[in-house]
Each structure stands twice: as structure tokens, then as C-alpha cells.
């Protein structure tokens, strides 16, 4: 789960990371008031869950409160990568002598959180990694021992020569690691971490993502969720306990299991179609899930056909069949549906479906081809 920059900064500030003062606002008037309170130059920053805010014009410097207000009125409501800006962060501007990057990502290869630091901050770290890998130091942290002082020291000396700065940045890395562990993060990043002309070290931007698997034990993070910053159908799906990701195609997919769901989307593409979504109903055979899945998929006007691909293991295919029947009785479908079912209780499921006027196949390849043809305006077989 992603959180906004201002939320990430609140978390890091609580651990002791030095961050210029700032407040979040939802109106231009609030922005003006905050700018006045802060005094001096401020930066107005769009709070959306996407990168490239600067390039899109979502981050602007303001010399006066009046200018901040004017800028805010333009940024608020702006669309960035398809997301509407509902909130801006107003924060004190800082003078910058040098910019560094400090981040922690959860790395599968070393089975550990890995520190990544670079004296080349302020730009996309993946670009640095590609073009000048020697400017990045990576260090896996064994969580049984935690980030040790000597490791923070080694990372610090990669960034700075001056031992005073090394000690200051070591403290910041300790704080970043502490926040990472405390909140079960999967990513925690300060970019840029700047040195001011006066030698002060400050975090000017922060990114923080929390492991979805760990949210059950982090109510403090869950309450930071901003549903206005997400795709509405994905919010709907999450509340229905479905794993759903909206895509741009027109073949709506309902599958059990993440791997099979991806393979189904790939097969749609293989036969020249475009999947409208990723959707995994999971291992349980609760008919309610099927009902919700159909509601969410049919809510997307671009969907031209619905494709079910169910391999019954734990999932009972008769439960899925019942779900389809129930849902379509309540809300008759306006688009064609292609059903593939096999595995546990397959015969019962087939009977339920044919009794209710549906046809179904037990072959994945055949079902996908049919769905693609229907999406292209062909006929159901």
C-alpha cells in the first residue's frame, strides 16, 4: 500500500529525520494560510500516488503566500497520470548545495531489506543504477541484527567525506530503518536528501510503501489510506476481498489463482485480444465473491465480454456456477459470457449452468479463443 508524501514525511519525522516544516491542504485558501505561517519561500506539491509529479507541473515554488494560493488553485484538480489532485503539501523551501539518495527496498534475492544510497540524488534512482552503477552502494541488512552502526557508517562514507556529515546521515539511516521495520514497509525512500549551503542535512521528498500482507497489524497505516487517490473499481474490489487491477482492454477476466489469472490474460493477448483486468477470486468458493466480481467487471463500460476461467481445487466449481446464476438473475447481463470450469464438482457445475441457460467448456484454450472472438464482435459458439 502506498501512502502520500506528507504521510511518509510524518512517519519519518516521528523517527527523527530532519524534514522542513509543512502542512497538507485541500483548498487554495488553506494553502495561502499555511504559506503565511511557514514564512518565506514555499513549495506546493501535488499529493498523488504516481511518479513524475514535477514534470507534470504538480510541484511549484512560490515566493509569497499569494503566489502559493495562485499556484495551488492550478494544481488542485489537475490530472496527473490519470489521477486527480485532491491535496497539496505546502512546505518550506530549502537551499540546496548537494543532493543524495537514501532508500531501503525489500530485496528478494538477498531475502532482506537492502539499503541503497547514492551521492547522485534528486533524479530517478533507476536511471542512476543503469547509467552510473558505481554511484550506488547496496547493502543488505540482516534483520536479526538490525542496521548496525558500522553499516550506517560505511553507507555514510559512501555519500560524504566529512565525518560530521557521515554521522548526521548515519542517524537519518537509523531512523529510516527504524520506520521501515516498525511499519512493515516494502519501500522507504528519501530523494533528495539534501545538504544545504550551511551544511544542514534535510529530507526534501519521501516515499513509503507498506507490505499489503502486513496491513492487518498496522491499523495506523490502514487509516492513512486515501481512497480518492485510487481507481474506484479497485477500491470496490478490495472492499469485497477481491484482488483486482483495472487494465485498458475489453475482455473481463474472472479467474481463481494469481498465476492462472495472469496466464489467462496472457492467453487473451496471445489470441489477439486485450484483457480488461486482472481478477483473482482466490481459493474460497464463496458465491458472494462471484457476484461482486461480476458487478465490478460489468461496471466498466469498455468490457465487451466476460471470461470465467476456474480450475477447481479448493474452489468448488459448483459454488462458482451458483454464483454466476445468482448474480445474473438479479442483474441480467448485457454482454456475452464465456465460462470455462474444470476440477472439483465439475459435473454438478455444468448441470447448474446448462439448467440455467449457460453453456460452459472445460478447455481453457477454447474458452479464451471464444471470448476474444466475441470481444471483437464475433458470435458466441
Amino acid at each position: 500500500m502506498n501512502i502520500h508524501e506528507f504521510q511518509a514525511k510524518d512517519i519519518l519525522r516521528a523517527e527523527g529525520v530532519p524534514i522542513p516544516p509543512g502542512e497538507v491542504a485541500t483548498s487554495a485558501e488553506q494553502v495561502e494560510a499555511i504559506a503565511k505561517k511557514i514564512g518565506g519561500m514555499v513549495v506546493v506539491k501535488a499529493q498523488v500516488h504516481t511518479g513524475g509529479r514535477g514534470k507534470a507541473g504538480g510541484v511549484k515554488l512560490a515566493k509569497t503566500p499569494a503566489e502559493a494560493k495562485e499556484i495551488a488553485s492550478k494544481i488542485l484538480g489537475m490530472q496527473i497520470n490519470g489521477l486527480t489532485v485532491h491535496q497539496v503539501l505546502v512546505t518550506a523551501a530549502a537551499d540546496i548545495a548537494t543532493e543524495a539518495y537514501v532508500g531501503i527496498i525489500l530485496d528478494r534475492k538477498s531475502r532482506a531489506p537492502v539499503f541503497m544510497v547514492s551521492p547522485a540524488g534528486g533524479i530517478d534512482i533507476e536511471e542512476v543504477a543503469e547509467k552510473t552503477p558505481e554511484k550506488i552502494m547496496k547493502l543488505p541488512i540482516d534483520t536479526r541484527y538490525g542496521l548496525t552502526s558500522y553499516q550506517a557508517n560505511e553507507l555514510g562514507f559512501f555519500l560524504f567525506d566529512d565525518v560530521k556529515k557521515v554521522r548526521a546521515v548515519s542517524k537519518i539511516m537509523m531512523a529510516l530503518y527504524s520506520a521501515f521495520m516498525k511499519h512493515d514497509a516494502s519501500l522507504a525512500e528519501i530523494n533528495p536528501l539534501v545538504v544545504t549551503p550551511a551544511g544542514e542535512i534535510l529530507a526534501l521528498d519521501a516515499k513509503f510503501s507498506v507490505d499489503d500482507n502486513a496491513l492487518d497489524r498496522h491499523p495506523e497505516i490502514v487509516q492513512l489510506r486515501d481512497e480518492t487517490a485510487e481507481e474506484p473499481s479497485e477500491v470496490d474490489a478490495r472492499n469485497a476481498n477481491l484482488t483486482f487491477i483495472k487494465l485498458d482492454g475489453n475482455v473481463g477476466c474472472v479467474v481463481n489463482g494469481a498465476g492462472l489469472a495472469m496466464a489467462t490474460m496472457d492467453l487473451v493477448k496471445y489470441y489477439g485480444g486485450e484483457p480488461a483486468n486482472f481478477l483473482d477470486i482466490g481459493g474460497s468458493s464463496n458465491p458472494e465473491k462471484v457476484v461482486n466480481a461480476l458487478r465490478i467487471i460489468t461496471g466498466d463500460p469498455s468490457v465487451k465480454v466476460i471470461l470465467f476461467n476456474i480450475f477447481g481445487g479448493i474452489t468448488r466449481t459448483d459454488d462458482v456456477a451458483n454464483g454466476i446464476v445468482t448474480a445474473t438473475k438479479a442483474n441480467p447481463l448485457k454482454i456475452p459470457i464465456v465460462i470455462r470450469l474444470t476440477g472439483t464438482n465439475e459435473e454438478i457445475a455444468m448441470k447448474i449452468l446448462t439448467d440455467n441457460g449457460f453453456s460452459a467448456s472445460s478447455d481453457m484454450d477454447e474458452a479464451v479463443q471464444k471470448a476474444v472472438a466475441l470481444a471483437k464482435g464475433g458470435k458466441a459458439a
Binding site: D184, A214, V255, A258
Partner: protein, 289 residues
């Protein structure tokens, strides 16, 4: 022969009296798996299905039964503890079915299990099955048949799909292993490939990977350097957008890393067969055996 489990494997079930644990324990018993005990704190002394003794702790269960394998069906927030308990009690093969285990928990569980000299499969995996001998986990027994294809996969139902097609085509399996879809897990592709290479019964291997990470690339390198047996691979998630988690915690493309394209390229470079569709395995394997 087979890998990791066979007819002599003795199993305890952690969470045997829970909904999922109970359901799958029955299925395993029906399949013929030697379940010698179960563990649920506070239910020590009871019997599951009137025959399997239940214990309060894994230590008690191991002391009483001598089990060498454990399968875990406990809620995600308790799974890390369950894996460590099993390893501490002397269990040598631990299979964790539980989905949704916090990833940072695994950064402690993995070295713990390793220190105790145990092998972990999972978490968030369907377990494994040696057809006709033993199944530990949730892979449906019906769809499998004994034979000489080793199957290893990061996914659940996709594995079933492939195994189902192999079985229909008359190609039985030595062992089918689901290593799970989490970013940090106990047993990876290479562990399974190495075991299949050594297993005299296995003649060829079907391997199902997905987007995210570089496990498949490393597996391809291993195949090229260390394997004489043919391997056919598939990658799910060619249509997945970067930065989005496709269900599995591990199925996420970060930046330019972990795409299906680079994994397929690695398979090709290693001289492996590449299945474009799940249904291509039968033919590709047959052509190589």
C-alpha cells in the same frame, strides 16, 4: 523415487483443527499421506477424525510421533511462529501453505530454519505431491498420476492446469512442487531443479515461473550449467503492467526488472523449451524426451 516426499514421509499438521487445516488433512489422509499427528494449542489429547492425535506443541508432537515433515495451515500473523516452532522441534521439511505472511517476518524465519538444518517450502504455496505416494498441501490428487515429469511452479491453479494436461496426455509426474508466489520463500527453483536432476525417476522438468524478481533467470543459468535433463519453462504475466502487484506478493515488476520478456529470453539463452501457452508443455516435453 521422487523429490522431498515419498510413501515413507511422516507428517504433522499445524492448525489441524482449523477450517482449512481440517479440510485438507482429510484430503491428505484420503490420498494416503501418513499424517501421524496434529498441533493446536489447547487441544492436546484430542483426536482428529477419531484417529490422528492432537498435541499442544510441535515439540510434543515430534516427541510422540517422530514425524519428519510438517504442513502449516495457520492464519498469516501466526505463520512465522509456526515455521520456527517446527524447525526448532526438529522437523526437517516444513511446508507452509498460509497465504499473506508479512514479508519482513520471512527475513527472520528463513535464517532460523536454515540454522536448524531444515528445508522450508513456501509460504503461500500449494505444497507438493508425489503421485501415488504422498501429498503434503492442497494440490488436488485426482489430477496427478505417477510418471517421470518433474513439475515446479510459483503458482497454484496454473500448476493444476499444466499437470491436468500432462495427465490427460498420459505423461505422469515424479513430483509436483509449488514453491509459492511470495518474494521471500524457503525453497526456490534451483533447489527443485537440482533435486530433479538427481532423482532417477524424473526424466524431464516442467517449470512455471512468473513476473517479478530474477529467480527464473538464475534457474535458467542453473539449467544451462548443471542439468542434463530437458527443462521446459513458462512465464505468466506477459501482459502485467509495471509496478502493480498481480495477486502474489512476489509478482510485481519493479522498473525494468522482473519482466516476462527478460525471463523468456533467459530460458531461450539457456536452451530450454519455452511454452508460450500452458497447453504447449505436453508437446514441448514430448519432443525432448
Amino acid at each position: 523415487m521422487s523429490i522431498f516426499i515419498d510413501s515413507s514421509t511422516t507428517v504433522i499438521v499445524q492448525g489441524i483443527t482449523g477450517r482449512d487445516g481440517g479440510f485438507h488433512s482429510k484430503q491428505m489422509l484420503e490420498y494416503g499421506t501418513k499424517i501421524v499427528g496434529g498441533v493446536t494449542p489447547g487441544k492436546g489429547g484430542q483426536k482428529f477424525e477419531d484417529k490422528v492425535p492432537v498435541f499442544n506443541t510441535v515439540h510434543d508432537a515430534v516427541a510422540a510421533t517422530g514425524a519428519n515433515t510438517s504442513v502449516i495451515y495457520v492464519p498469516p500473523m501466526f505463520a512465522a511462529d509456526a515455521m520456527m516452532e517446527a524447525a526448532d522441534a526438529g522437523i526437517k521439511f516444513i511446508v507452509c501453505i498460509t497465504e499473506g505472511v508479512p514479508v519482513l517476518d520471512m527475513t527472520k524465519v528463513y535464517p532460523f530454519v536454515k540454522e536448524k538444518g531444515a528445508r522450508l517450502l513456501g509460504p503461500n504455496c500449494p505444497g507438493l505431491i508425489t503421485p501415488g505416494e504422498s501429498k503434503v498441501g492442497i494440490i488436488p490428487g485426482r489430477i496427478c498420476t505417477p510418471g517421470s515429469i518433474g513439475v515446479v511452479s510459483r503458482s497454484g491453479t496454473l500448476t493444476y492446469e499444466v499437470v491436468y494436461q500432462l495427465t490427460r496426455a498420459g505423461m505422469g509426474q515424479s513430483t509436483c512442487v509449488g514453491i509459492g508466489g511470495d518474494p521471500i520463500n524457503g525453497t526456490n527453483f534451483i533447489d527443485c531443479l537440482a533435486a530433479f536432476e538427481k532423482d532417477p525417476k524424473t526424466k524431464a522438468v516442467a517449470m512455471m515461473g512468473e513476473i517479478g524478481g530474477t529467480d527464473e533467470q538464475e534457474a535458467a543459468e542453473f539449467v544451462q550449467k548443471h542439468m542434463k535433463k530437458p527443462v521446459v519453462g513458462f512465464i505468466a504475466g506477459q501482459t502485467a503492467p509495471p509496478g502493480r502487484r498481480m495477486g502474489h506478493a512476489g509478482a510485481i515488476i519493479s522498473g525494468s526488472a522482473g519482466t516476462a520478456a527478460e525471463k523468456i529470453e533467459a530460458f531461450e539463452r539457456a536452451g530450454m523449451g519455452v511454452a508460450k501457452r500452458p497447453m504447449d508443455f505436453v508437446e514441448l516435453l514430448r519432443a525432448r524426451m
